[in-house]
């Protein structure tokens, strides 16, 4: 696939334009994400990272600039179901069993029952919960629920995965475990990931590149190339390279804003 | 959107729907030449109101007094019962099944039995029904409030080595006040409804219910509906007063209504 997963040029988003409560959520965003890449968006509140994610998801419309997802307009990408999405709250439907939760996007696409069941089971194996299909969501722990949410997001095998702080509600140990799981899953499926987070170590551990953003108005200030290679595990967290990158991202977050932000690599 | 437009957006639709309803009603009756024994138009109701205004107001006073007596006594007794029930568990366990049954059953039929237990012209059976209606609503809600104290606050009191009586007075009772005023807000219109319907079962003919059933059953529906309007006004009055009371007494909380 030669298409870029995401291509944003001069993208901007303004809420309540012209009214007293106008908010410039995003300005002049240039960003490309290659297929199979793992990219994190990090920054303080109000920097527009969640807004950017929702623009890619076509849950919001851009005010300015051009945005292409999988080579198409975001709306087309959404209609074609080119991406799966996961949120901080797992958001499983409490009245559906785990399997049925995973089947939800497939039901909406009109898949027949047998195919759905088979795919749901396949996803359960992928997230390492093969015999929990008939359980109800509230019988699962928070981490397990998030794994099901990820299984649901990937059920239709979309090329792109959009995640909005999915591990934010989990404790630290579970969180680290889930990060490793996510890398494994996306490695196996070759999925492109755009990942919003508050946590610097999480962003560095997971990503190929970390996009640093800042508010007032929301914009990209730096893009940090992590460069720790594809294969990461628990030991990676204790290497000097890892700590160096965390420091680099932290300083980028703290540092002065680059006027007229451009998506250039910063080193 | 400007502030005025925002206001209009909220206020206009209900007004449009309300006015539209009356216009459609009037048009339906007049244009389809609906016979008066089936339905009358709003304009007829309005003129009937004007003609019978003093009678309607008198009837409102009678029914309103019955409802008010019931509300006051029912609230007092209900609160007392809830206080006792939270202190002595088995009393609560005895009253609860009755409260559940009362919620399910149209207890107003009991007034049929009460009419023979009192003088023919007594208003007491209706007042008793209104009291019962208010009593159970208040009991259930205040009891819930007394039992639902903030665990953090109770822990705090325990750390002060407060006696259980002090905990009761300083934490449980104040915590249950919002529930009391919510209960009054629910019970107030309920006592009006009970007082009105109680009159369907015989007895004095000087209240709203008797006149409503009397006029609506024959071909004087315009007068009957005027009395219905009077009953609605009474119900809204009680509700408004109770809601205002709740607002003043418990300004920090708008409790979701519960039965």
């Amino acid at each position: 696939m030669s298409e870029l997963a995401v291509q944003a040029t001069g993208v901007g988003k303004v809420f309540n334009a012209g009214r007293p409560n106008q908010v410039d959520a995003l300005t002049d965003v240039d960003l490309t994400v290659a297929p199979g890449e793992f990219v994190s968006l990090i920054g303080p509140s109000g920097c527009g990272k969640s807004t950017l994610l929702r623009l890619i998801a076509d849950l919001l419309d851009t005010t300015t600039g051009e945005l292409r997802v999988n080579g198409k307009a975001p709306r087309q990408a959404r209609l074609d179901q080119d991406y799966g999405m996961a949120f901080q709250q797992a958001g499983l439907f409490e009245w559906r069993s785990v399997s049925k939760n995973i089947e939800l996007p497939l039901e909406l696409k009109g898949w027949d029952k047998a195919k759905r069941r088979a795919r749901a089971q396949e996803m359960l194996e992928l997230v390492k919960l093969p015999d929990r299909g008939d359980a109800m969501p509230w019988q699962l722990s928070g981490g397990q629920q998030q794994r099901i949410a990820i299984a649901r997001a990937l059920a239709a095998h979309p090329p792109l995965l959009l995640m909005d702080e999915p591990f934010g509600a989990l404790d630290e140990m579970t969180r680290e475990h889930m990060q490793a799981e996510l890398l494994r899953i996306c490695g196996e499926t070759g999925t492109t990931v755009v990942f919003v987070t508050h946590s610097i170590p999480e962003a560095v551990y997971l990503s190929d590149r970390v996009v640093v953003m800042s508010p007032g108005p929301g914009r990209i200030t730096h893009i940090v190339d992590v460069g720790l290679g594809r294969h990461r595990d628990d030991d990676t967290r204790e290497t000097d390279g890892f700590y160096d990158k965390i420091t680099e991202v932290r300083e980028a977050l703290r540092g002065s804003r680059v006027a007229g932000a451009r998506g250039i690599e910063d080193r | 959107m400007s502030a005025v437009a925002a206001r209009a957006r909220v206020v206009l639709p209900p007004i449009v729907f309300g006015v539209g309803f009356f216009v459609l009603w009037e048009a339906f009756v007049k244009l389809r030449d609906v016979k008066p024994f089936v339905l009358v138009a709003p304009s007829d109701v309005w003129s009937a109101w004007l003609d019978n205004q003093s009678d309607i107001l008198d009837a409102m006073k009678v029914t309103g007094t019955n409802a008010l007596v019931g509300l006051v006594i029912g609230t007092v007794l209900g609160s007392l019962a809830a206080l006792i029930a939270s202190a002595v568990r088995w009393i609560g366990e005895l009253v609860n099944p009755i409260a559940v049954a009362v919620n399910a059953v149209p207890i107003v039929v009991v007034v049929a039995v009460l009419t023979r237990m009192y003088e023919a012209d007594s208003e007491t059976p209706r007042r008793i029904m209104a009291t019962l209606a208010a009593f159970f609503v208040v009991f259930v809600n205040v009891a819930r409030g007394l039992n639902q104290s903030h665990p953090t606050q109770l822990e705090l009191m325990r750390s002060y080595a407060a006696s259980s009586r002090q905990q009761f007075v300083k934490v449980r009772v104040p915590n249950s006040l919002p529930f009391l005023f919510t209960a009054i807000r629910i019970a107030a219109p309920l006592t009006v409804i009970t007082a009105v319907v109680a009159e369907y079962f015989g007895g004095n003919r000087n209240g709203l219910g008797a006149s409503i059933t009397g006029f609506l059953s024959i071909s004087k529906k315009d007068v009957g509906l005027a009395y219905v309007a009077g009953a609605s006004v009474l119900g809204l009055l009680f509700f408004g007063a109770a809601a205002l009371l709740e607002y003043i007494a418990v300004p920090w909380q708008r409790q979701r209504s519960s039965r």
Binding site: - | P14, V105, A112, R116, Y118, R259
Partner: protein, 294 residues
């Protein structure tokens, strides 16, 4: 045994009421009658008479069930009350079904079109405060006289329509609250699936509304019973238990205990409906987590 505790207390409470009735009837009432002034507070007589006519013995009430309904007829009071209770129950059930259908339908409209929600909501709220039941006698003269789309309006139609009218309001309010309850992220999820409004309603909003419909159905069930019973009295629906109360009341002097049988029938009616609603709730919530919204 512990789980049946509420049941034991329920039986005990009922027994207590019977005991209180009998104690007042036999001893306190008589004692009060000889001291007229004691029973009066603020000028009106507070405590009831306890004569045979006013307060029959509970035993007599139960005896009534065995007696023939009308002098010389083959049906016992028990059979008559049973039949009437069942008849009213079917009407109340029909009323609840109709009210639920319309209530949910209106709630869907209100959830779909926000302007309808804003327009109707205030009326739904105040409907709980005005005596809608007062409209019951309005339909008295409709029975057998009007026809809608070829459907002839019978007396029982009035009862069902009024019951439906009363149960519609709590259901509409509860359903709407439920439809609007899902978290924003769940709505976004459905949007990301490019789901239509109806799909989102069917797969997300409707199931999410169940915990809100539960208390609403409880209210609606008792409202339906209330509407049907009062309608029967206003309209004169002779085969309903509400009417039976009024009719037995007329025999107050010859058979004072008779009316209590019909009252008991009405109580059974209300409890039956409550049990049905509770069973329905348990069935539909069987897969749900145990904690709920009151």
């Amino acid at each position: 045994m512990r789980r049946l505790r509420p049941l034991w207390f329920g039986i005990a409470a009922f027994a207590l009421l019977v005991v209180m009735w009998e104690v007042y009837r036999r001893w306190i009432g008589e004692w009060l009658d000889t001291r007229r002034e004691v029973g009066s507070v603020l000028g009106f007589k507070l405590l009831p008479r306890s004569s045979e006519l006013a307060m029959p013995a509970v035993g007599d009430m139960l005896d009534e069930f065995g007696k023939p309904e009308v002098r010389g007829s083959g049906t016992s009071v028990f059979e008559a009350v049973l039949a009437a209770t069942f008849r009213s129950f079917t009407l109340a059930l029909a009323a609840l079904a109709l009210g639920s259908l319309v209530g949910i339908g209106v709630a869907v409209l209100m959830a779909r079109f926000k302007v309808v929600q804003r327009g109707l909501m205030p009326y739904l709220v105040i409907s709980q405060t005005i005596p809608l039941i007062a409209l019951a006698p309005l339909t008295v003269t409709w029975g057998g006289e009007i026809t809608i789309f070829g459907f002839e309006w019978e007396k029982w139609t009035s009862a069902v329509v009024l019951g439906a009218f009363l149960s519609f309001f709590p259901i509409a309010v509860g359903a709407l609250r439920g439809f609007n309850s899902p978290a924003a992220s769940s709505i976004e999820l459905m949007d990301s699936y490019a789901a239509s409004w109806f799909q989102t309603w069917r797969k997300l909003r409707l199931p999410a509304a169940l915990p809100y419909l539960t208390p609403a159905m409880r209210l609606a069930g008792s409202a339906a019973v209330f509407g049907v019973v009062v309608s029967e009295i206003s309209v004169g629906l002779t085969d309903g238990v509400g009417y039976l109360i009024l009719s037995y009341l007329q025999e107050g002097t010859s058979r004072p205990a008779k009316v209590f049988t019909a009252v008991m029938g009405t109580v059974v009616l209300g409890l039956l409906m409550a049990a049905l609603v509770a069973a329905g709730d348990r069935y539909f919530s069987r897969n749900r987590p145990k904690e709920g919204i009151a």
